[in-house]
């Protein structure tokens, strides 16, 4: 790829910033976008390209974003791999069983062996590639002794599967190995964790009033509302958003609505999304359900919308689960079934990032095979276990990778009445039926769609709880395209001048 020479420094700066952004706030979408520019980046700065490619491969392989710490560790991995074999030899022969003093002695020997081996490798490499005299004292690949020791200790811990010790001797002249971790290191780790929390990956709704509300991995979001007030609409919409805007893979367990209907609604939601298809044909739900779509609509839906939703590599994948179409039988679907499904998907199909359950209390909360009627505590326990499942989920690589979880909860008629008395403001006590909802959830949202609001295509979204984040204080109205796949939008306001110009253009 040929680029004008004078443009390269600017491009290098831009790509450098993009790389830093992709690494410090990684999302699958950013990764994919960056990947699409690999050729251009390679032409401008091969180093940026190499760093990124490595990060991308790590992500593609393990579905995890590499941290700076991992980068550093990975950089010394080759050295560690070689030293590990030495440690292994020491452990299995002369010095087993290991004691502290034996270990130190072994380490000293390993260190010498290791350094010796490194020097040899260094000499060999230089003489082979550069045919120049070698002076190991000049550094290069030679690792300082203290670094080598640290590496070996890490390898030992790894090989033995246990930490050496958590004790420390706090006197100034204690040998380093007995002093334990330095306070400065301990603090550095806290700072690192703090930064990771601040800049951790998060997802947000595209509604102007709610953009400071953040969903993070491990979060449980519960959407409350009276029956037919739009809980499922919001669940589907968030799921769709995570798939298309953020490229995440989602599992949607529909325990209330039939599989085909939910699938149709997802497709119509996509087809009627004018941000993605600005010149698309409108797809009314009613025409689909009555089988009266025009040829143009059929062509658009089946040949453009559906292939795009399923095949666009910028999007994540949707797994739609409906355990059983029979409502009575769906009671037997349990959280353990869902867990098994997610693990199965994770191991054989795709990494899973978010789980939606519409809705959780339709599951059978009793895991035991003995039949008994579920008690209130069983449902509370169900919410608790769902939260635990989200937090403790492990990726295919075996490392912890929390999931985002979303579910809905029914608010009683009394709860609705109370809200209507207060100008449509729900109180957190509206979730009082299951106390665990309030405790386990990270976000509590409510939807209010009275007959009056429904007639004008409006629904009111309220944010009642935000664990460790900002709370959106007042409820706000969203527009819901009830007849067109039920997409949600918070309308932007016209400026005063725009409004007056618009009014003057209308026949009034």
């Amino acid at each position: 790829m040929n680029l004008p020479t004078q443009a390269q420094p600017y491009l290098r700066e831009i790509y450098g910033e993009l790389l830093m952004d992709a690494l410090s706030h990684p999302t699958p979408k950013k990764m994919r976008e960056f990947k699409n520019h690999t050729l251009a980046i390679e032409a401008v700065d091969p180093m940026i390209s190499r760093i990124f490619s490595w990060t991308y491969e790590f992500w593609a392989k393990y579905d995890e974003f590499v941290s700076l710490q991992t980068l550093q560790e990975e950089a010394s991995l080759n050295r560690q791999a070689e030293a590990a074999s030495l440690i292994s030899a020491i452990r299995s022969s002369e010095l087993a069983p290991l004691t502290n003093s034996a270990f130190m002695e072994g380490m000293e020997r390993a260190k010498n062996l290791y350094v010796e081996q490194e020097v040899t490798r260094f000499q060999h490499m230089l003489s082979e590639n550069m045919a120049k005299p070698v002076d190991p004292g000049q550094g290069g690949l030679i690792i300082p002794i203290s670094d080598a020791m640290a590496d070996l200790k890490r390898i030992y811990n790894f090989a033995s599967g246990t930490s050496l010790s958590n004790s420390s001797l706090m006197i100034s002249n204690a040998p380093p190995e007995l002093r334990g971790r330095k306070l400065a290191d301990q603090y550095a780790q806290i700072k690192l964790q703090r930064d990771q929390v601040e800049h951790s990956i998060h997802y947000q709704l595209p509604f102007p009033h709610f953009e400071r509300m953040r969903f993070k991995p491990g979060n449980l979001t519960v959407i409350g509302g009276f029956t037919s007030h739009g809980k499922s609409i919001l669940l589907r919409y968030i799921c769709y958003l995570l798939i298309t805007n953020y490229g995440l893979n989602c599992v949607f367990a529909s325990l209330e609505m039939p599989h085909d209907e939910v699938k149709m609604l997802f497709m119509l939601l996509h087809g009627n999304n004018r941000q993605i298809f600005p010149d698309g044909v409108d797809l009314p739900t009613e025409l689909f359900e009555s089988g009266t779509l025009s040829e143009e609509q059929e062509d658009f839906l089946f040949n453009i919308v559906e292939p795009d939703f399923e095949g666009n590599e910028r999007y994540g994948a949707l797994f739609l689960e409906q355990p059983n179409a029979d409502a009575q039988a769906s009671r037997s679907f349990r959280l353990s079934d869902l867990q098994a499904r997610v693990i199965e998907l994770e191991n054989s199909v795709m990494p899973v990032h978010a789980v939606f359950v519409d809705y959780l209390t339709l599951m059978d909360p009793v895991e035991s095979e003995k039949s008994r009627s579920p008690a209130m505590d069983d449902y509370n326990l169900l919410f608790q276990r769902f939260k635990g499942f989200l937090l403790n989920h492990k990726g295919k690589s075996g490392s912890k990778r929390p999931l985002m979880g979303f579910t809905a909860a029914q608010i009683s008629r009394d709860g609705l009445k109370e809200a209507l008395k207060r100008d449509g403001y729900y109180d957190i006590s509206a979730f009082g039926r299951y106390s665990e909802i309030e405790k386990s959830s990270d976000h509590l949202l409510t939807m209010l769609m009275t007959a009056e609001k429904k007639a004008s295509g409006k629904v009111q979204l309220q944010h009642l709880k935000s664990r460790g984040g900002e709370l959106v204080l007042d409820p706000h109205e969203l527009h819901v395209a009830l007849a067109y796949g039920m997409g949600l939008t918070e309308l932007n306001s016209r400026t005063s001048d725009e409004l007056i110009t618009e009014l003057q253009s209308i026949q009034l």
């Binding site: 409108d282 009056e452 939008t489 007056i500």
Partner: protein
């Protein structure tokens, strides 16, 4: 003829026009140019008609009317145009202000009757609405003679001025304020308003 219902732009039951060519009944428009999602013009039109109330719906709309020339708040404005012309000016002022002001149109007789029957909660709410509304339009048209009308209206103007110092009161009379017919009906009201509120008479 007159409605004391406070008119605001945000009406709850505004529906999109299912036949609208622009939004096809969805009520929203996506603007490709800036990525904003806006309310469709069909909804805006319905809102405007709701805001205007049937009273001004069919009046002529003059796009050139500058509301800043008229809406001098904490003031009382007198007009003696033809009724049709006055309604047209009111409509144009309300729309050209971007529908941001609440307004109530009421006859002088209704104001007096509300004040005199000030007993229950409902009446109390009506009085509060008349006092706090941004633009109050009082029509002194066809009122039957009542010896206390002038005094009652004077009391009301004082109350509104004390409790809502950003309100604008617009009075329409079919008779000139300084004329004998007006004086006969409302006694010293015209002179009082002119002195107290520096009322502009046209």
């Amino acid at each position: 003829m007159f409605s004391a219902t406070e008119a605001i732009a945000e009406a709850p039951r505004i529906k999109a026009d299912s036949q609208c060519d622009r939004c096809r009944g969805t009520g929203v428009l996506f603007k490709k140019e800036d990525g904003r999602t806006l309310e469709c013009v069909c909804v805006l039109k319905s809102k405007a008609l709701h805001y205007l109330t049937p009273m001004y719906e069919h009046a002529r709309y003059h796009k050139s009317v500058d509301p800043a020339e008229i809406l001098k708040f904490n003031n009382v404005y007198f007009d003696t145009y033809s009724l049709t012309g006055f309604k047209s000016i009111v409509k144009s002022t309300l729309l050209n202000s971007g529908m941001r002001h609440t307004h109530i149109s009421i006859s002088g007789a209704d104001v007096c009757s509300t004040l005199m029957n000030w007993k229950d909660e409902e009446q109390d709410a009506k009085i509060r609405a008349l006092v706090r509304v941004n633009i109050l339009i009082i029509y002194l048209v066809g009122d039957t003679w009542n010896p206390r009308s002038g005094e009652n209206l004077k009391d009301f103007f004082t109350k509104r001025a004390n409790e809502n110092n950003t309100g604008f009161t617009w009075v329409y009379s079919e008779n000139p304020i300084q004329g004998d017919k007006f004086k006969d009906k409302y006694q010293q009201l015209g002179a009082y308003l002119k002195i107290k509120f520096n009322a502009v008479a046209k």
